[in-house]
Amino acid sequence: GAGVSQSPSNKVTEKGKDVELRCDPISGHTALYWYRQSLGQGLEFLIYFQGNSAPDKSGLPSDRFSAERTGGSVSTLTIQRTQQEDSAVYLCASSLGLAGGWETQYFGPGTRLLVL
């Protein structure tokens, strides 16, 4: 079956530009997560959506980062006025959303963002 998909797979942008990253979760998964992974580092949690509840934005590093999830499915992570330190792999994951919290997540392939 189809897994989590992300687009674009690679993005090169100039410092100061805005970027949008897209995530399509597994069909039927109500929970969606965004992470950032810098070279050689572990996963850094950014934001979590569960159904129609208000998202958990506690991991967003600055107000330049925002995310939306429309219709409970597709999500877009937006980074405004990108900085070089934003360069990383941005990973999206989804889960069934039955546990009322964290549960086994299935990851997409990631978007590799390079800010020049």
Binding site: G42, L43, F45, D56, G101, W102, Y106, F107, G108
Partner: protein, 114 residues
């Protein structure tokens, strides 16, 4: 193991040997543990999980061992193959409250020599 700075600990094994990858988790209240495999250029892939009321669980060529006394989790891979080369990391989940707590480890790089 735990990583320091930008360098992941590396485990190098010969093809056909067994591999043991370790993870020292931090939260004694964690209820659930997951091992992920991440190949170069790909997202993490679920391998196996274990609940805190178990101390061992087996899958296909993989076994996870949980020692709650010393907060240690290990992943054993039998007859390691070149396709097993990847970064492996553990995740721990504590259920409770509005959504609980999730912590990912930084990973161990497994290198399989043919």
């Amino acid at each position: 193991g735990e990583s320091v700075g930008l360098h992941l600990p590396t485990l190098s094994v010969q093809e056909g040997d067994n591999s043991i990858i370790n993870c020292a988790y931090s939260n004694s209240a964690s209820d659930y543990f997951i091992w992920y495999k991440q190949e170069s250029g790909k997202g993490p892939q679920f391998i196996i999980d274990i609940r805190s009321n178990m101390d061992k669980r087996q899958g296909q060529r993989v076994t996870v061992l949980l020692n709650k006394t010393v907060k240690h989790l290990s992943l054993q891979i039998a007859a390691t193959q070149p396709g097993d080369s990847a970064v492996y990391f553990c995740a721990e989940i504590e259920y409770g409250g509005s959504q609980g707590n999730l912590i990912f480890g930084k990973g161990t790089k497994l290198s399989v020599k043919p």
